[in-house]
Symmetry: C2
Subunit: 352 residues, 2 copies
């Protein structure tokens, strides 16, 4: 390894984001924003005028371009590779489509034990090489102090998409399978977890400094259900990630699940805006925390945004291990100037 490479590695290792993941003091509170490369940004929309969402995911140059552009434009402290939480279900034999304005649609949803048996074990993630290639190119294009985050959906969120065939309000099919055929359920969750383990480690291998598991829909579950049907599988994924790579474990609507999510694992636990950051961190104990800013607050004026950010920073109280973020992804109509103002406000107010 050349001297330059060592220096780069040190710069990444000591970046505010990576320090916060390890709960080491940082010169200011690092901030990045879920879905920071997205529809709200003109540069992104211009790329999307030429290609579909899935084409963008599958074209490494373009995926790298929108990933890096978002970082440069916003001045955030971490990049997250442009991809989709569901990509890993394709090599399981699930046909995934993104219909215009509709979000993901699955035409062969899994509903029975027989369907579960037909799922394919992910022997290799070669078919997702475009993600690894995008990570590789993004890493080369990013400044050497900006860590790159790889990610995937968490087992429950992936399972619920696979079973419902798309978004859901009540998760009737998912819970019915869970409640009536726990054997099939656990077998499906294990298969997903094994696929995820391969996928996340391949992203690390390709150049990601951290990985995030998105359990976006887990908030529909009771604590009992989470403990029995979800926790062991999420834990298996997190334990499989290469040692030394921080794992961010994120969900929304999880006010009752925080302790159990932390029990499942993760160096950093994602918080939505519903919980008080101070109380939530107290409950979680010795982990780093991320999130907590309501994405809808970005529709208000900049004084309000700054005051809301201050409230969160005050509750974190300068404690090591705080990563500023939204409680969920940026919404499509969000004014980009407000996003930039938020990033600046966080940097300014958290200087130490």
């Amino acid at each position: 390894m050349s001297v330059k490479n060592n220096a780069e590695t040190d710069e990444l290792y000591n970046s505010p984001f990576m320090r916060a993941c390890r709960r080491e003091p940082a010169p200011y509170t690092p901030v990045w924003l879920m879905r920071q490369a997205g529809r709200y940004m003109r540069e992104y929309r211009e790329v999307r005028d030429r290609v579909s969402f899935l084409e963008l995911c599958k074209t490494p140059d373009l995926a790298a371009e929108v990933t890096v552009t978002a970082v440069e434009r916003l001045g955030v402290d971490a990049a997250i590779i442009f991809a989709d939480i569901l990509l890993i279900i394709e090599p399981m034999g699930i046909q995934l489509e993104f219909e215009k304005g509709e979000g993901p649609v699955i035409h062969n949803p899994v509903r029975s034990a027989l369907d579960v048996e037909r799922l394919q074990e992910v022997e290799s993630v070669e078919s997702l090489d475009f993600v690894m290639e995008a990570i590789h190119r993004t890493r080369r294009a990013l400044r050497p102090n900006i860590p790159l985050i790889g990610f995937g959906g968490a087992p429950f969120t992936l399972a619920s998409y696979i079973i419902e065939g798309g978004g859901s309000r009540n998760y009737v099919h998912t819970k019915t399978l869970m409640y009536t055929d726990s054997g099939a359920w656990h077998s499906m969750m294990s298969l997903i977890a094994r696929g995820l383990a391969k996928y996340l480690n391949a992203q690390v291998e390709a150049g990601a400094q951290a990985v995030q598991l998105f359990d976006s829909w887990v908030g529909c579950l009771s604590t009992d259900d989470y403990r029995e049907y979800v926790l062991p599988h999420t834990r298996a994924v997190i334990e499989s990630v290469k040692t030394g790579t921080p794992v961010i474990h994120f969900g929304t609507g999880t006010a009752a699940l925080l302790e159990l999510m932390s029990e499942a694992g993760g160096d950093v636990i994602g918080l939505d805006w519903r919980v008080d950051l101070g109380e939530a961190w107290q409950r979680l104990g010795d982990v780093a925390v991320m999130g907590n800013f309501d994405p809808v607050s970005l529709f208000a004026n900049q004084d309000f945004i700054s005051a809301q950010a201050k409230r969160i920073l005050d509750r974190a109280g300068g404690r090591a291990g705080h990563i500023f973020n939204l409680g969920h992804g940026i919404l499509p109509e969000t004014p980009v100037d407000n996003v930039i103002a938020l990033v600046e406000a966080v940097h300014e107010m958290s200087q130490r």
Copy 2:
């Protein structure tokens, strides 16, 4: 008042449901189910084949019929008048429609301070006399030991419907008004609260023994937002309800809000299925609690349903002030036999 009436009044007053509302011991845990008169029940669908949802609400004989039928069919311990949480917004000048399979749609949503100024003060709830008439007829038709619950949407849930114009995922318009024009927001919430006070008391006057406030969408808010923008208005409504009439204060996705909801008021606090009933009751202190059974569990088999019900009863531990219910309304495809089995299981397992 005749002797018969006194005896009836005593029977109502001492019914398991009313005793539980007052946190007095009851011979068994009373149970009723939100949306117990609904699409999942053949008898209800037969009525709905003849009239629209709104026509059903506005025809006292039919509203009474479906209300009473649900009680008789299920063997539950309380009736809830068939109506909609949104009816009270019509006399505020809001045009409410229920489109087939679409839920409520409002064609003149409130988006600005000017729109708020155009809202009408509810001087009288005479235009909702059909609800009071339905309550009157239902009370006469119900057995004398079955209390009747009146209800309305809580101020936040009504405001969010009025502003969004229907259901919503992110409540962008609602929160934007809240965050950018708090004067208009509070003025709207006060107007709604005053209307609700009149409406709920008219329902009590007409023969309801208890009232429920449905804050179905409040779970999208942070604790800070709830405290500042919602709590004073919900409290105003609850404080205005005639003394001696129990108020049930219900919401979903409220794991982080329970203490604040209780601070706003209510003799009984509704719990969704996400929280552990034992822990939640501990946090709430000296109030009665209701709910906690996941409506989707009703799609599983009856052994599972019974085991889930037992778990909730065990956590309540026979403590006075527990009303068994779902954590949200019954879903349209729910098998009616499972609903009946749940009611029987609760009665059987909670005999004291």
